[in-house]
Symmetry: C2
Subunit: 390 residues, 2 copies
């Protein structure tokens, strides 16, 4: 847990710096507040309290609100993956899903397979249950299923995967690899934990189908309302075989009884009204434009020795610097010039690569993206020149 704590401290320190308004921050993981449907939610909370009154404020079932579960199941079914409401558990944000999965599947010292790099919050959630992490390599097409053999899977009950617009790399797992990963899971008796908070945030076309299409019987899918409605509501969901949902329900009951009755009903009110049909295209267009500004700025300013990902959706670009350049030292120099980002080392379970960094682009206005990347480029070119000399 010490490594996770240290990573957490680094990010807390960065976030403190980025609260100064003069700082151009590519460090956050927050969605753009311009995408939150404030009026629709205000109307929804008012309407639910008006119509349901005290029932919207009472304790409710651990499984979640019936209407919201039904909506999640119908949406998944509409994507070609038949799903019943009984296969859905509503959670207090998908981070809670990670906690419950940790409780269900991790024994002290057992192995958890994670992408390298992976979502820091998942490492932190799982670390509470004291597993060993084993890193799986990823490339431009995402996780490499070929790397999962019997040796890699030893003592492991699940692989944790973010197939769409991954945090931190922005990469997407190809359809062929999804099918191959499902085959590996069956052959090696593994659960696949598919964390998909960004799947709806595609720019030009929807990503390939979810892992449940290929291995419904051994996929635990996590979804979130944080990037399509509001993160402050703390609403997410788990979709899994009903027997496993039953296990999670008992664990959630012991953990926090249930998710907010009122927030679930308000969210159900909004999503069943059809708001997302007009709302999601707006978010996608906004994020695509922001990403394009970032990629243009990188092309214009970063030295040719640096490489970066070309996301098809989501909120992040991942940069690989020349081998001699340490992103943590670069950060110190950048903060002195009022620019911030997260060094990539934070996202590795075991073996951090110092020459990587994550850039978040959805909350920064275009002119500030250009200004910030220009400063980073300048600092980088100095360092690359030094690294070449050394």
């Amino acid at each position: 847990m010490r490594a996770a704590d240290a990573r957490s401290s680094i990010i807390r320190e960065i976030l403190k710096v980025t609260q100064r308004p003069e700082v151009i921050s590519f460090a956050g993981g927050l969605p753009s507040p311009a995408t939150f449907p404030v009026d629709a939610l205000r109307e929804a909370f008012g309407a639910v309290l008006q119509a349901a009154g005290p029932a919207a404020l009472q304790y409710s079932a651990t499984e979640g609100d019936d209407a919201l579960r039904a909506w999640v199941a119908a949406r998944e079914t509409a994507k070609g993956i038949p799903t019943s409401p009984e296969q859905v558990l509503i959670v207090a944000g998908s981070q809670q899903g990670l906690d419950l999965i940790g409780k269900a599947l991790i024994d002290t010292g057992s192995t958890v397979l994670v992408e390298s790099p992976t979502y820091l919050g998942a490492l932190q959630a799982f670390a509470l249950f004291q597993p060993k992490f084993r890193e799986l390599p990823i490339d431009a097409e995402g996780l490499q299923p070929a790397a999962i053999d019997a040796a890699a899977a030893r003592d492991a009950r699940f692989a944790y995967v973010m197939p769409n617009f991954q945090n931190p790399t922005g990469r997407t797992l190809s359809r062929e690899r999804r099918a191959a990963l499902a085959d590996k899971a069956r052959a090696l008796d593994l659960w696949l934990v598919e964390d998909d908070p960004y799947g709806e945030l595609w720019y030009r076309q929807a990503p390939p189908p979810g892992l449940r299409l290929f291995a419904p019987e051994r996929t635990i899918r996590l979804g979130s309302f944080s990037k399509i409605l509001s993160p402050g509501l703390r609403l997410g969901f788990v979709i899994a075989p009903q027997a496993f949902i039953d296990v999670l329900v008992r664990l959630k009951q012991a953990t926090d009884l249930h998710t907010s009755t009122l927030a679930q009903r308000a969210a159900a009110h909004v999503v069943t009204s059809g708001l997302l049909e007009s709302h999601l295209p707006q978010i996608r267009a906004r994020y695509a434009a922001q990403c394009e500004v970032m990629l243009e700025a990188l092309r214009a300013n970063f030295p040719r020795e640096a490489r970066w990902t070309q996301p098809d959706g989501g909120m992040f670009v991942w940069v690989e610097l020349p081998a001699g350049v340490d992103a943590t030292r670069l950060l110190d120099a950048a903060i002195a010039r009022n620019v911030a980002f997260v060094p990539g080392a934070a996202f590795y379970a075991n073996a951090p690569r110092a020459n990587t960094l994550r850039l978040s682009f959805v909350t920064v206005p275009p002119e500030r993206i250009r200004a910030g990347v220009a400063i980073l480029g300048e600092l980088l070119r100095e360092r690359v020149a030094d690294a070449v000399k050394a």
Copy 2:
């Protein structure tokens, strides 16, 4: 965990039965929905979304909303126990506080001291971390501190106590015993986990001061908005020494990032408006009247061989039946006549006493309390007669 699971199943089965409208249920643990300030909360959610807009829907600090933390600290300070906002963590209901405390303080196989009987949800929350439970005896004045000696405290890091109107017994720990318990905690190097969801629900006078008055440096206090505002919002708080709050903040970040931004702001809006000054007296008067109806009905209908508690607040009466009478069998007969309650055996960590039961009285109209208790009295008198014959 198997015992906790079995208990959970029993209560789930009971709750299924009590969803039939013809059933008079003394089984629930729910507050009366008549006490929920629906209009004030509707106004609050609207006002917060109007004034703060997207900021009320964004991710926020794990520690909780500044205004709500300040209000909790000020209220505790006003009760004579100086408290700073930094000693307060907002949680998603006090049940989550139990989960975080379990994560912080329980190692597999370590000992947790609990009252006998105690709150079932605490046993379930702690059981996930696989401790051994050791039961501490309680009597009319609550937990007996004299029972906590070095042998009882061996391998234990904390004692879990509900000092006010305890669930399930309705009993209150006397002031003298609070002081003695604090002395024991110091002498034996124990944390005291003071769970106080019902403390505001006193009938005639406030209960004795909280354990933090006697041992602020080793008390972890859990409070809840569930019984004074609404359980469906899922809002509670932990008050503890700041160094321990810092530990809980890191654990909560890994568990669910933070509690709902919007719900916290709406609750802060309501409580800082002074609503509770008029609202709490109404809840107290209602619950006191409901309790009086229950106690009168017990006096009029239960055989003299039965004994029951005389709560000074809260939501529960605890009944001890003559030794030969099994409350679980009584429940079967009661359900056949459309009356339900929870057999007391569910509330014991290790050694259930079959001749006990819990009656919840705050959600049942007076005439149905009388009718339900009359039926239970009839069934009981038959059984007492049989037990005497046997």
